[in-house]
Symmetry: C2
Subunit: 152 residues, 2 copies
């Protein structure tokens, strides 16, 4: 997608995930996959993206092990795209993005939706970052550490 070979950031563990995802469309595809969408046509209708772009993004997501192609559920000759375990790991990224969106982008009067617990239908809690000892950490109360600095 992007030529990341040239720009070796100190922190590849943000850049490489971003590179694997590919672009914004891909993340919206993953979101739709969480919503149960599986077929090329479903994604295309939901996102309104050009078919060649969708095709390329799906191929990239499969190549990076985020989606996988499963033969067919109903014996149809068409295949479907489903999230892998790795792909389901992006759940937390989507929750974080969505809560940020809820906080800063939900204008009044808009069709406001939010995430609820499927079982109870009640809203989920906000994400929190906790220290090992359980203390709540605010943005900025963390830093990056080399593994050698860590007691194991």
């Amino acid at each position: 997608m992007v030529k990341r070979t040239s720009h070796q950031s100190a922190d590849c563990l943000i850049a490489r995930p971003l590179d694997a995802i590919g672009d914004w469309w891909s993340l919206l595809i993953v979101r739709d996959a969480f919503d149960g969408l599986r077929r090329f046509g479903e994604f295309q209708k939901s996102l309104g993206v050009a078919k060649n772009i969708l095709s390329a993004r799906l191929r990239n997501l499969v190549a990076h092990g985020i989606l996988e192609i499963v033969p067919a559920p109903d014996g149809s000759a068409h295949h479907e795209y489903v999230l892998t375990e790795k792909g389901r790991g992006l759940f937390y990224v989507l929750v974080a993005l969505r809560q940020w969106g809820e906080t800063y982008f939900s204008g009044p009067g808009e069709p406001y939706t939010f995430m609820v617990d499927t079982r109870t239908g009640r809203p989920i809690r906000r994400l929190e970052v906790h220290a090992e000892d359980g203390r709540l950490l605010a943005p900025g109360e963390t830093r990056l550490a080399d593994f050698r600095q860590q007691p194991e």
Copy 2:
């Protein structure tokens, strides 16, 4: 950045944050801002991005209220870019991305870094999604609900 006016997804609360951020570079800029970088040149050196691109991304982040320009700390005539409250809200997105990266992209033998509590130097906990009643929710155990379906 991207013409999102035409593709009205059912769930704007993922798409609009993505649109506000702009692109991958922008998220790396925000990450660097969390690491304490503030100056144009610092971002440029850290990311290795072309100056016109960096310039455009910084302008966009400021326009969306994620960064703000502050005059100068040391009386210098140059200004600096710092995270706003809204920008600091992206912390959870970065933590989620990074934990996903740690899980699936840290090859053995690589310079492995991870997030630690600044106070204790110990690793932070993994993000979790909790229901209102505190139950731990796995990926897929949530759905989107319209506010009208919600008891208040």
